[in-house]
């Protein structure tokens, strides 16, 4: 059957998320200035279970289907994308934990719960030489070194899941933990980030020849590769769902504003230059949402095509998010450019989201390569 009807449970969960989103919206500017979500919001997000939706039950998570999560995350990010990206927990590493069992790593999740973590994926897409991590074998052990790109959650992380190639080119996943006193074997470089997602703990990781015990290399070779492919697809869907929330915020705000703002003796919505743009924004948002839900449904059904659909959803969301949030600013005119209104923040956050979650063109090339059977991880 083809249906766009959410379940009762999803509706209820999304309603709670929507109420919470209003609080998030209200606090977003203050959080941005502080560089992190407020304690009140963090506490509430945890209480309501919004930080553990993707985690498996074995790690005390809610283990929700992607379709449900997509709806809830959209509702939350309708409040503010930046704040939600700063929620505590395992950041994108939750998808690694979620897919661990299927990758034959059943024992992994039990002891790796909702700890603040980051997923430092040095293998997705091509890395620039300056932004590579290396896993070397030395005297029977492993050593990890190099610099990552800026990634979400790194600033707050007490645990890193690092996807890296070893010296024979095999993919591996390494788990690094902070010591009991909070000291980490990695260095965090916050850098000078002004664009957006300023509450999302974006930073780089620097590793200087860190000794890695054997048991910290939790997967290597084909098993790592399959695991990463499965986890990335989920991350792509969940991130795209967040983007859709930010888009919907911009659409609703622009619609409301242009319905009230007057110029040349009438509401500016009555100019087709305005109303058609609002309509385009809404079309783009709905299109992106449906691609997200489609990929989510496939992945929930363990349909292998979901990996490819996730790439498309991610690429489209990245493009749509920029289009919609930029037009959100445009339709408010000069008011869109100043911080008295939220749309400028959504545009900055949207661009930062697009930048952090990978090159849109790369997702499309990955898709094409899988399609034509060259190189890329096959679906």
């Amino acid at each position: 059957m083809i249906s766009f009807r959410p379940t009762e449970e999803e509706k209820q969960f999304a309603d709670v998320a929507r109420d919470f989103a209003a609080e998030i919206r209200e606090a977003a500017r203050a959080c941005e200035e502080a560089g992190r979500p407020s304690d009140v919001l963090l506490k509430k997000a945890e209480e309501l279970g919004f930080t553990v939706m993707e985690l498996p039950e074995s790690a005390d998570g809610l283990e929700l289907p992607l379709v449900s999560q997509a709806q809830i995350l959209e509702a939350l990010c309708f409040g503010d994308l930046g704040v939600v990206q700063g929620f505590p927990g395992p950041a994108d590493a939750d998808s690694l934990l979620r897919t661990a069992a299927a990758a034959g790593l059943d024992t992994l999740t039990a002891d790796l719960g909702a700890q603040p973590s980051a997923f430092v994926d040095a293998l997705q897409g091509e890395s620039l030489p300056k932004e590579t991590l290396r896993l070397d074998t030395a005297n029977g052990g492993y050593r990890l070194s190099g610099n990552s790109r800026p990634m979400r959650g790194v600033k707050f992380a007490q645990r890193l899941f690092v996807a890296v190639a070893d010296d024979t080119g095999q993919p591996a996943v390494v788990v690094l933990d902070a010591a009991a006193d909070g000291a980490t074997p990695w260095q965090v470089t916050e850098g000078d980030v002004r664009l957006g997602l300023l509450t999302a703990g974006v930073a780089r990781v620097a590793l200087e020849d860190v000794a890695v015990p054997d048991d910290a290399v939790v997967a290597i070779g084909d098993s790592a590769s399959q695991w990463l492919t499965a986890a990335r697809a989920r991350v792509q869907v969940l991130q795209a769902a967040r983007s859709v929330g930010a888009m919907q915020a911009a659409v609703d705000y622009a619609t409301m504003y242009t319905a009230g703002r007057k110029a040349f003796g009438q509401e500016i919505a009555k100019f087709q230059g305005v109303s058609f743009t609002v309509a385009d924004m809404a079309i783009e948002t709905t299109a992106a949402r449906n691609l997200v839900l489609y990929a989510a449904a496939q992945l929930d059904a363990n349909d292998n095509a979901g990996v490819q659909s996730a790439r498309l959803a991610a690429a489209r969301a990245s493009r749509s998010l920029r289009f919609v949030t930029s037009n959100g600013v445009q339709l408010l005119g000069g008011h869109g450019f100043v911080q008295d209104y939220p749309v400028e923040k959504w545009m900055r956050d949207g661009q930062a989201q697009a930048v952090l979650y990978g090159r849109e063109s790369e997702r499309l090339i990955e898709y094409g390569e899988a399609l034509l059977g060259k190189g890329g991880a096959s679906a």
């Binding site: 620039l128 790109r149 230059g273 445009q330 930048v355």
Partner: protein
């Protein structure tokens, strides 16, 4: 003959301005964005160097040149196309200062957007009085205050009133988003003497800093252009003497059908839109140059990323060049004395929108690293307003479309 060669004077101006942009503006670019202002010492220094900003050009004798410095060398006995190149020279210089840093560019001392209305409509005494203050002893600014909370694109809807009283006018109202409005020595303020008269009731006044009843109530916080001051101005029973009515009473009286303040305001736009478009082109070029350099240094020389970069770089180059040529065309038309509203609107609409897209593409090529401390993310935040101020993209579309349908006597 169709050709695209800069004259030796233009070439010199371009090189000089580029040198200034690269060596004086760039080093303080990220810092000024962070501070939310251009450092005072720097402004003082460049003012002493004689660098000023005057949009629209044509300010010889006031001590300020077009664009960023005055290299006007006209050959007296050649045809007008050759003789008068002010607009072309101005956009060439404006692109370079936009390349340096657009927020700092708008903060360069000088009459700024206030210059053209004074130059175009002021009496000889007014020109002398208001344009001669831009001297090297200390930096000074002019400003242009048209926008109000309820009148942005629809400038005819301004509500600031000017009531005639003995010896002058009393101004009441509020202006928003006024570039350099807080620091300006004087502001060209548009107000209405009679709302029921519509555009014919509009007048332009020069209000000087320190005039009782005139104050800057607030500075805006913005997504970009953070180093450029954007002020809210309030006029409360602000008395302005007759001598400060731009053009004087006769100026309005003489024209039976009335060259209104509205037309003064609009005439400014045909001159300034190509300048704004040129700055947007400069921003795009800056993001492109930076990214090209990054790709050359950091990218592998083959493979998927490399191919991707090749295509995107070429696409950007083509987009930027198209914007530049549209801008030159609009400026050229102004130089030869032909109406250029359509071309001015075209270049502004094209360059304003596409410069943002170029910055987005550059960010994609820089990858996640681009978020951290690279000037491209700042240019991205700065450039959005180039599609908004001096008439939004939608308004430019309207102007272009109107000109196209004029031929069919269809008013849209």
């Amino acid at each position: 003959m169709i050709e695209f060669k800069l004259t030796p004077a233009q070439k010199q101006m371009k090189d000089l301005t580029h040198w200034f942009a690269a060596n004086e503006m760039r080093p303080i670019s990220m810092l000024s964005d962070k501070l939310g202002k251009v450092p005072d010492e720097w402004l003082d220094k460049v003012n002493k160097m004689g660098i000023t900003l005057a949009a629209g050009g044509g300010m010889g004798g006031s001590g300020s040149g077009s664009g960023s410095s005055g290299a006007k060398k006209d050959d007296a006995d050649v045809d007008p196309e050759v003789k008068r190149q002010t607009n072309r020279t101005t956009v060439i210089a404006a692109e370079e200062v936009g390349w340096g840093d657009p927020a700092i560019a708008l903060t360069l001392p000088g009459p700024g957007l206030g210059g053209p209305p004074v130059q175009g409509s002021g009496t000889p005494e007014q020109k002398q009085r208001f344009l001669s203050i831009f001297t090297k002893d200390k930096p000074r600014w002019g400003a242009y205050a048209l926008t109000e909370p309820e009148a942005g694109s629809d400038v005819s809807n301004i509500r600031t009133t000017a009531q005639k009283v003995d010896g002058g006018y009393v101004i009441n109202g509020q202006k928003i988003f006024i570039t350099n409005g807080g620091r300006a020595s004087w502001v060209v303020v548009f107000a209405t003497v009679d709302r029921s008269a519509g555009r014919a009731g509009h007048r332009a006044f020069v209000v000087e800093q320190g005039t009782p009843g005139f104050r800057c109530s607030r500075l805006a916080h913005k997504m970009g252009m953070r180093a450029s001051e954007t002020a809210e101005l309030v006029f409360e029973d602000c008395f302005v003497p007759d001598e400060n009515l731009l053009g004087g009473e006769e100026y309005y009286a003489k024209r039976a059908e009335g060259k209104s303040g509205f037309q003064v305001a609009m005439a400014t736009f045909d001159n300034t839109r190509p300048v704004v478009a040129a700055m947007a082109t400069g921003i795009a070029q800056a993001a492109y140059d930076y990214t090209l350099d990054f790709v050359r240094k950091e990218y592998p020389k083959s493979g998927r990323l490399y191919q991707l970069a090749c295509e995107k770089l070429a696409d950007m180059e083509q987009t930027i060049q198209a914007g530049r040529l549209l801008t030159w065309e609009a400026a050229w038309k102004a130089d030869i004395g032909q109406p250029n509203s359509k071309e001015a609107a075209m270049c502004k609409a094209y360059a304003g929108k596409n410069a943002l897209e170029v910055c987005e593409t550059c960010l994609e090529l820089l990858g996640p690293a681009g978020i951290d401390g690279h000037i491209v993310e700042k240019l991205y935040r700065d450039v959005k307003v180039y599609d908004i101020f001096e008439g939004t993209n939608q308004v430019q579309h309207l102007i272009v479309a109107r000109r196209l349908y004029d031929a069919f006597e269809l008013r849209i």
